[in-house]
Every structure is written in C-alpha cells, then in structure tokens.
C-alpha cells in the first residue's frame, strides 16, 4: 500500500479529482458554502486519517503542486496590468483604502489575539489572514508564525468574505463598484474575489487589484513589526 501512496502521482491525482468533483458540485448548487478548495482539503484530510496514510506520502505529490504557488502569485500582475486605466483613475482611493484595510486587519488581529491571550506563534500566523495565500504564507513564515494555521485562517477568512460581503454591501449601502470591489478584495483576497466577479465585472476587477495591493502593503507593513 505504501508503495502506491508514497508515489507523487497519488497526492496529485487525489487533489485533481477531489477538486474537480467539488467544482462541479458548486457549479450545480451555486453557494459559497460549497467552496471547492475548502471541501477538497476536508475530504483529503478525512481520507488520509481514515486509511492511516502518512502526510509525508501525500506531500510527495503535494509539494509539487505547492511549487506553483509562486507562479500563481506572479500572474496576478497580469490582472492588475489589464485594469491599468481604472487603477490610474482611482489610484489614490484604492491605495488609501487598501492601506487602511491592511492596517485595520493587522491591528485588529493583534488586539483580539492579545485579548484572547493567544500564543505568539498563533497570533503571528493570523496577522496576514486577509491577504492571498502565497503572500500570507511568506509573511507568516518570515515572521515565525505557524504556516498551516495561516493557511487555515486565510481560507476561513475568504469564506467569511464570500458569505458576508453581499450582506455587508447592503447594510452599509455601498453602491459604487470601485468601493465595493476594493473592500471585498482587501478583506477576503481571491476567495472573496470569486464573489465580487459574480456581482459585476468592475467589482471583480477592483477586487483583483485589491488582492495584489493589500498583499504588497501587508508585506511592507509587517517589515516594520
């Protein structure tokens, strides 16, 4: 059995087929609660636990997939570049919004962690929770946080964004697509952006810009922590 599970092909195929299964499921039922990434992770953990497969075996293939986190972040530059004219026109509000958003996110995490008396390693891991995973992982790693806790926090935050932002837009009476898009991207990165894309094209594009912008600003701010 170990001969099979320790093959890199095991981890990769497990990820691909589980993920595409949940993608189809979400396609049919259209609810943010059926987030394919979340349920793929839950399912794979359950499978590994159930059959007693060591995570080292899974990571033979998993590490190969993780290798593509860096190129995945790099190509965000393309989506920002595509929206250059909107970006130029609203540069000041976008920069200001993302900066205040990043500061709010970081400050609120630190204050709340202190209030709950959380360990330093966990507090640090939660700090970059509102930015896109590869950046959040890098920030957490460099600051000495528990990286898997960061990944969990990023995913949970993204799902909260998917579920809550349409409601928040209504309660706070936000109609301007630039304002809405930037706020969605700044608080809940790529997962929130999937929701923004559903609302309108401008919402999605602005949210996309906010992913990159908040990511860079968070990296810069944490350099001073």
């Amino acid at each position: 059995m170990r001969e099979i599970t320790s093959s890199p092909f095991f981890g990769i195929t497990l990820c691909v087929f589980t993920y595409t299964f949940y993608q189809r499921l979400q396609h049919r039922f259209h609810t943010p609660l059926l987030n394919p990434m979340l349920w793929t992770v839950v399912t794979i953990i359950a499978v590994l636990q159930l059959f007693g497969i060591p995570i080292e075996d899974f990571n033979q293939g998993g590490d190969i997939i993780s290798l593509f986190l860096s190129p995945a972040t790099a190509v965000l530059a393309v989506s920002i570049f595509n929206q250059l004219s909107v970006l130029k026109k609203n540069l000041l509000p976008i920069l200001g919004g993302c900066f205040v958003g990043a500061v709010t996110s970081i400050t609120s995490v630190i204050l709340l962690s202190k209030a709950f008396g959380l360990e330093e390693q966990i507090q640090t891991a939660l700090i970059p929770k509102s930015v896109t995973t590869p950046i959040a992982m890098a920030v957490s790693e460099q600051m000495g946080g528990l990286v898997p806790v960061t990944v969990a926090a990023v995913v949970v935050t993204g799902i909260i964004g998917c579920v809550c932002t349409p409601f928040l837009l209504r309660v706070l009476r936000i109609k301007d697509p630039v304002t809405a898009g930037i706020a969605i991207g700044a608080c809940s990165h790529a997962l929130g952006t999937t929701k923004a894309i559903e609302i309108s094209e401008t919402h999605g594009a602005m949210s996309g810009i906010a992913i990159g912008m908040s990511g860079i600003l968070t990296v810069l701010i944490t350099l001073f922590l």
Binding site: I55, L69, P134, V151, T157, A183
Partner: protein, 127 residues
Amino acid sequence: MAILLQIGVVLLICLLSEIVSLLLPFPFPGSVIAMIILFILLAAGVIKVGHIRQKAEFMLKNMAFFFIPAGVGIMEYFDVLKSCIVPFIVICVVSTILTFAATAGTVALIMRLQHRYRGRKGGDQDA
C-alpha cells in the same frame, strides 16, 4: 505563444525573483517579487499580455487548486488549533468585517474629497 514557452517565461521570472530575494538585505517573499518583476516587464512592454495570456488565465482561474496541499498541512497542527478554535473563528470573523468596513469607508471618503476638490476647480469632467 506556445503554452510550454508561456510556462517557461513565468517560471523564469520566478527564478529571477529568487535571485533578487537572495540579494535583498531584508527578507521579502520571492513570489511577490516575481509579481512586481512581471508587472514591470508588462508595463515596459518587454512582455505582452498575449505572450502569457493562456498561462495566466489558467493559473488565475484555478488559483485555489494550488493551495490545497498547504491547506491539508493543517492536519499536522490540529492539536495546536484545537486549543484555540473559538478565538480563531471569532478573530477571523470580527477582523474581516472591520477590515471590509474600514476599507470601504476610506475609499468612499477619499473619492468624495477628490470630487469636491475637482468640483471646486470646476474643470474636471468626472467631478
């Protein structure tokens, strides 16, 4: 451009970013450096969006997929998380809502200030 070459271009940028990351006097994530390098190359016209369009679309569309192994990694830390699951969830929810409101408020405020300033100048068409 052929897919293989598109992948090669993006991976080459990632390799360059690792080199830049080593040369920087302070720690900075290589993936973000790769994003900045690619943006500069696009802005400078060295790379055209068309050169890497399919690769970029593929990666952006399937972005979540590449995070799965990192998410599965959490099972090694179940014991750590178990002790703080309530604060973990509360912090994520409260902080996300605060961040959303603060960001939206700031964007709206700066836009309003800009409009008022442009309105006073009277010349700008979008004021």
